[in-house]
Assembly symmetry: C2
Homo-oligomer: 404 residues x 2
């Protein structure tokens, strides 16, 4: 008998039929003799619909009010899932983020989990109940509802798993785990049986959307073994855990950002005068900087655009604020190779650049880190670039990892 | 400078444009120098949509889970309204039922307000903020979210008004106050400038849907003066307050139930053997009995059908349980005249019966109470019967009340 946390994403509970399917899956796990805590996201497009409604009513809606609003999405799906499980004959109770003891930092709309006071969840499990927890939300020190930012339900699942010392934490979505590349772009992509925390963090940062990077970091810090699985089949999925590098550095997977903003500052004067201001201007928009590369008197910033409501006005704002002294380029994308220690291996870096060149893709800039190589390319070429990297590193039998 | 509670119903906040309109109305009240607490219902059909989704997933969903689910409807509209008010430049904060200190009885899905701990609302008002409160919900002694039953947001508004000692409590809907009859049925119906608590309670019980009967009872008990007004114009609406009877009893307004179940027990044996069982069978379904009439060895129950999810199966259940010894008749409706002391005035009762007879309507049963006369008629004749009563009592200049 194990204690299992299962997290079901929005596409897994997008309609009544899918909620029934998820309920059956949870009940099967329960009847196999396990205790189950299910963490659930909002149904399908609910969060986006609520956000769009808010943005049609207020240009810059209060984040406290936004959090109150968005938290309803997961509360709706948690109640529906709980009553469906009860209908199948199992004892079940749903708990909101605050009721589940998820404590967060104060900042609304992008809070981080600071602690999980798991008493209530544990008591309900002891009473023999399945517990359904609303993902993506918690409560701050002022007793207000907060939300955890995009993909926050993954973090809820990992944090609850750490808090109740679960034996397993399974993150369900509509794909069979973590792939060597996005299978919608690369036909030859295949699921990986295991990934280390550090590699998964890099893949997520560089655009792999299966798992939220913060959730992976949380799992890493608390050493929670996470399994990414598909809601709609019984494939084993991908285990994310601690793993040491063995043998030569090699590329484990590739990922991409279809759209980035590239901000570049050139020359010592500009850097000294404006360097901090640019970072501040970006920071005050609460936007995540994907990578910063410094090289002598130039600094390049790559900014992922997923969280920017109005990309063009954001870019124009930067251009205007810095009066043409800073180059701001949209229509950019990136492709990255990820693997333990590959960034320090000149051979791997050279192979990547050669593969892209051979495919006729101009690399505008490249950044190597410990466990990743990232190449900036024109947005329309991202697909071709990703396929070229995948073909180079992951379709050649010599390079491909053995299946564990 | 007054302290004003304004309640806006679901049709007043049914879409973004209407939310903007309500926000402007609240801001105007604020800018006229008043403190405002706005109580808000769920947008349009939200509650019904959530309820239908729940019922498609579970035959008899847990009421605790239902309350968690339905409470989201008002939380969505409160957040959206609050951010829209902020967009107009006023300080505003939204509070859920529990945050607003609404304490209720334990029973889920049909809880009653026991107390309002108004400290948080008062503090926010003192800080100069408009407060938006989610209607229809509260928290029970176990700290769980409860809902107040159909029309519960009216009760929230009255209870908050009593709790913060508001100077005014305005209930907004899409009609100009309380009419002498439902204007969708009776063309000649007109808004009444004032109604007493007891008359409003009777009108509401007998089918007038402008104000929830529990809300009126709460207002009566706490002596909160309520004004029913229209969201979309500046008509003065109807004041509901303490009012003494003056002069001869007269009919103030008429109301109807388009659909009722009529349960009748005939004979001393049946009454003794089954009387209590029938009441229990109805009670366990949490259904409101509109009126019970005892007359020698017969008892008649009229049951409003608004809260019955499946009317036919409910009626069939009663018939089967009591093996044909109890007559259960659907397809019934009722029309009622309401006015202080009219039930004790033989002349008024006779006039009502004559008016219906003249209109060719068969009265299957009639019940007179202190302040009402109710006639049971076939469901298809409800409209004609209501028009006949209205014409008899409220379109004759001698009988019609003077405008105050």
């Amino acid at each position: 008998m194990s204690l299992i946390v299962q997290k079901y994403g929005g596409s897994s509970v997008a309609d009544e039929d899918k909620i029934r399917h998820v309920a059956r899956r949870i009940v099967e796990t329960r009847r196999a003799g396990h205790d189950v805590v299910a963490v659930v996201s909002a149904m399908g497009k609910t969060t986006n619909n609520l956000l769009n409604m808010a943005r049609s009513l207020a240009q810059n809606p209060s984040r406290r009010e936004l959090d109150m609003l968005l938290a309803c999405g997961e509360r709706i799906s948690m109640s529906l899932l709980s009553m469906t499980i009860q209908e199948l004959g199992e004892e079940c109770i749903s708990l909101t983020g605050p009721q589940s003891g998820i404590r967060t930092t104060d900042n609304h709309f992008n809070a981080r989990i600071t602690d999980v006071k798991a008493g209530r969840v544990e008591r309900e499990i002891e009473r023999g109940r399945i517990v359904v927890v609303a993902g993506y939300q918690g409560m701050n020190s002022r007793g207000e509802v907060t939300t955890l930012g995009r993909g926050g339900s993954d973090t809820t699942a990992v944090a609850v798993a750490a808090g109740i010392k679960a034996d397993r934490c399974e993150i369900y979505s509509d794909v069979d785990g973590v792939y060597t590349a996005d299978p919608r772009i690369v036909d030859a992509a295949r699921p990986m049986p295991e990934v280390s925390y550090v590699e998964m963090t890099e893949l997520a940062h560089h655009g792999a959307s299966v798992l939220n990077p913060r959730a992976v970091e949380y799992a890493w810090k608390r050493q929670v073994e996470v399994r990414a699985r598909c809601t709609f089949n019984d494939a084993p999925g991908t285990v994310i855990h601690e793993r040491d590098a063995e043998g030569d550095p090699r590329v484990l997977g590739v990922a991409c950002h279809k759209e980035l903003i590239w901000v570049s500052l050139r020359g010592k004067d500009v850097l000294e005068k404006l360097g901090d201001d640019v970072l501040e201007a970006i920071g005050k928009n609460d936007i995540f900087v994907d990578s910063i590369s410094e090289n002598g008197d130039r600094r390049d910033l790559l900014i992922a655009t997923e969280d920017i409501a109005n990309l063009d006005s954001f870019a124009d704002g930067l251009r205007k604020d810095f009066d043409g002294q800073v180059a701001v380029s949209t229509e950019q994308g990136s492709v990255s190779g990820v693997g333990l220690n590959i960034g320090q291996d000149a051979d791997v870096v050279a192979q990547a650049e050669k593969a892209l060149e051979k495919a006729g893709i101009e690399v505008r800039m490249s950044v190597s880190r410990d466990h990743s190589i990232t190449c900036l390319v024109d947005a329309p070429q991202v697909g071709d670039a990703l396929r070229a990297l995948h073909s180079c590193f992951l379709e050649d039998s010599k390079q491909s990892r053995e299946v564990a």
